[in-house]
Structure formats: C-alpha cells, structure tokens
Amino acid sequence: MASVPAVLQSEWTKIRTVSSTSWTLASALLVTVAMSAALCALMKATFDELSPAERATFDPTFISFSGMILGQLAMVVFGVLVVGTEYSSGMIRTSLAAVPQRATFLFSKIAVAAALALVVGLATSFLSFFLGQALLGEHRTTLGADNVLRAVIGGGLYMGLIALFSMGVAAMLRSSMLSLGILVPFFFLISQILSAVPKAKEVAKYFPDQAGAKIMQVVPEALNTEKAPYGPWGGLGIMLIWVAAALVGGYLVIKKRDA
C-alpha cells in the first residue's frame, strides 16, 4: 500500500512546482481584496444616498467581501487545474502507475490543494475585512463585534470550499476545459442571474455559492439580500453537502473509469 505521507508530500511537490498555483491563488487574493476595497470606498462616498431601510440593514462586514464574486473565480480555476491538468497532460497514467490506490491518490491531492486554498482564503478574507473597514471610515465595524469573527473566518472557509467543490467537479468531468466551461459561467452568471429572478431564486438559494455566502453576512437581510430559510451555518452546511457530493462523484469516477 502506498504510504499516505509520501503521497501527500508528492502532491505538495506537484502543486508547488507549477506556475498556475501561484497565479491563480494570487489572483484570488488580489482581485478579492482590490474589488472589495473599491466597493467599500464607493459605499463610504455614497452612504448618504442610501434609503433609510438600506442604512438600517447596512452590513459593513459583508460589503468588505463583495470582491469575492470575482475573486472566487480564480479559486475555481485553481481547483479545476489542480485535478484537471492530470488528465489534460496525460500525467494521470504516470501518477496512477505510481499510486494505484486511487482513493489515496485523489484524496491526498485534494487534501493538499484544499489546505492551501483554505490558507489563502483565510488570508484573503482577513485582508479584505481590515482594508474594507479602514476604507469605510465611520461606518466600519470591528472584529470584536457580534458575529463578525464568524463571518471573516467564514469568508476563508467559503473560498476553500469553492476550490474543493471545483476539484470534485474536475475529477468527475476529467477535463479542465469542460469543468471551467461549466463552473465559471455557473458561478459568475447563472447563479447570480437566477438569484434575482422570481421563483427561480427559491431554487438558487440552495446553490452552493448562494447558500455558502450566508456565512459571511452579519446582518441577515443586508443590502436587500433575500431572506433565507437557513442561518449562516445552515447555509455553510448546504454548501458542504454540495462539496461532499462533488467529491463522492469524483471518487466514483476515478475508481471506476479507465485512466
């Protein structure tokens, strides 16, 4: 049997020796922090134009994560490439010949990549939060306020889970291009659009990104967001179910299919 620590070390070498790792993770961080900061600055400048209801439900924590809508796409790309390039490069056959226990191979790879995504995700959410609060001026909140720390850590968890979900999907589809072609439009367009369409949004609430994003919200109905039938942890739980389903699907595919 393959030694798990050895396979983990091997997968870590794989991840750190390709350039896509650094550019996708750096983009996830920079895009999220920069876009969040820009929106926080804009919000401060236009705060007085908000309606009284909007002012009452203003969520300074959530607004400082608004760049994640774009930044999460880099996380999707990271997750897809970690798994997908094994297939597109033909490396999968070399890898499985070295580690024929397919579950050990797949989950070691995913564990290493997910840990890295989580670390970068947490760094992203803390940076976004502190920079955003600094730019919000008198409308800011602090880490010590109720539920704020949960939301900031939740932002990191969200980024990590998005990457993990993408890895599961790429393992199921066995192709980087196909996975990106589905996931990027889904997260960037379909999920966003459906969540604004009556009736469809009842379903969209249960999409992994919509449900998972609730963890980053401190004021439940902030910025005209929909009231959800679940709380922040409930939302993260729904996202976890999606992630688990994608990983189980990916495992079944790699276990059954010819490499």
């Binding site: 030694s3 091997s10 070498t13 794989k14 350039s19 490069s89 499985l96 010949a97 010819d258």
Partner: protein, 328 residues
Amino acid sequence: MIELEGLTKRFGTKVAVDHLSFQVRPGVVTGFLGPNGAGKSTTMRMMLDLDNPTSGRVRIDGKHYRDLEEPLKYIGALLEAKAMHGGRSAYNNLLCLAQSNRIPERRVAEVLDTVGLTSVARKKSKGFSLGMAQRLGIASALLGDPEILMFDEPVNGLDPEGIHWIRNLMKALAAEGRTIFVSSHLMSEMALTADHLIVIGQGRLLADTSMADFIQRNSRSFVRLRSPQQERLRDLLHEHGYQAVESGNGTLEIDGATTESLGELAARHQLVLHELSAQRASLEEAFMQMTAGAVEYHAHGTDVHPGTDSGPRWGDQAPRWGTTSQGK
C-alpha cells in the same frame, strides 16, 4: 515475471483484447509485436492496472498491481512520451514521482544522468522534443530501479541515434537480469532487440516463441534461378528431386537447395543461367503474413474485413508458432 491469464477487454461490443495468456520471463527482452490496433497498448495499460480488464487477470511477481507496495520499485513503465506535466521541470516531474514511492531524491539526478537529460533537468518539459520526452519517460521508468520494465513503442519518433541508444539500454537492462517487455509494430526492430517474441493480432495471441525459433521457422531461404532454357531446366530439376516454383518474370524458386549444387547441376547439363542467387524472405514479410488476417485497418477495401472470416484463418495456424495456444 509477469503472468497474464485469460486477459480480456471489451469496449462496448468491440473486443480489444481477447483471452490473452502468456508469461514474460526475467533476464530476456520480450518483444510484444502486433499491427496497429492489435491491443498492445490496452494490454499494457491493464498490466499497470490503469484499465480494468473485462475478465482475466495480470499478476506481477504473483501479485496484483494494486497490491504492490510502492510499485515503481517493482515495475517501471514508459507508456507514452508525453505523460508528464509540461509546466513542470523534468527534475520536478521525476521528484514528485520519486516522493510518492519513497524513492530517495538522489535517484532523480541519477536517472536524468542515465538518459542524458542532466543539462535540461530544470527546463519545463513542454519544450522537449519527442526524443527528449521519450528519454524523460524512460528516466521515470528507471526511477525505482525496478526488476521489471515495460516500454510501449519506445523507438517511435526517435532519430537513429536515439533508437540505437534505446536498443542498447534494453539489452543492458536485460543482461542485469531484469524483465524487459517492449512493444512494437515493427518486426525489424524486434529482430534486433528481442530474445523472445509474443505476437498478437486483433487482441488474440498469434505466437509465443523464442526469437531464434521464429527466425528459423519464418525466414524461408531459397534459391532463385533464371534461364532462357526454362523448360529444360524445370525438367532437370524435377528429375533430381527439386521442387521448383515459378515466381513470375521467368524465374524459378527452389526451396532447400544451395546455389552450389544447383549451379553445378546446370553446368553439368550445359544450361545457360541468367541468374543464380540465394534469397531469404524477410522477417517483416513473415510477420505481415502471420498477422494478415488480423490487421484492423487495411489500406484497401478488397481485403478481408476483420471479424468476418479473418479470425479462423490465423486461429487455426496460431499453434504452429506458439507454445501456448489461444484461449478459444
């Protein structure tokens, strides 16, 4: 030692590998020969547990591949040249493989030196030529210093220098007592490297024989004669018990005779000869003849269609060459 037992692979209704049973023994180079599409690569992938057999099994030193502890230390394989991540350097591609099987890192530099890639060790492998990629693939096969090595079409796309290098490498590895299993669709290549030969066509075993035996059985030697007095020559040969076969252009082919005896015979009877030559049919011809019924893609449409009547033709003859007859 690799043992295949009734190994079968179906893709839908198409049978790619059909009840293959043979053994690959240590200390020799075993050639795995078959036309394109005969099922060689599929067989090799099943040997490495990359493809799941429909039925049958493969054992490596008595074990299933999946039960090998750190398999790169038992068996190294070159399946296709570009089975590496192009964005990673040659060194790092090998390093992550070494780590997964707890092979010491110094082996990476050693095998890169063996295959002559030390100078490009830190270059990204996507810039490699086919020959360099092939060498990198061979380096990965050698990484765990395994007793068994498998190479799928290793000379494909290589220049003469590279081909020469691979041939010598395989012979040297076999001389160290290792099991070498190498596939090719070129008989001429096998004749130069292999000691033992396994021939398949349409997924079925056609021959399992030593190279020397194959050459002896299949390289027909005969004498070619051409004379303006062909009728007389023919009668004369018949009188002396030679079987002459007309082969067009007024030439006669005689099996089992020497040029000396025929030349002297003609001289004694004062026959004019325009040609007297010793001929030898090439192994390539023998191979093509053997697999003629089992070639999947014919160049022209008049040939027999695979699967209609081609099977029995060679199925009947297969045991002639083989020590193991096919499974059905």
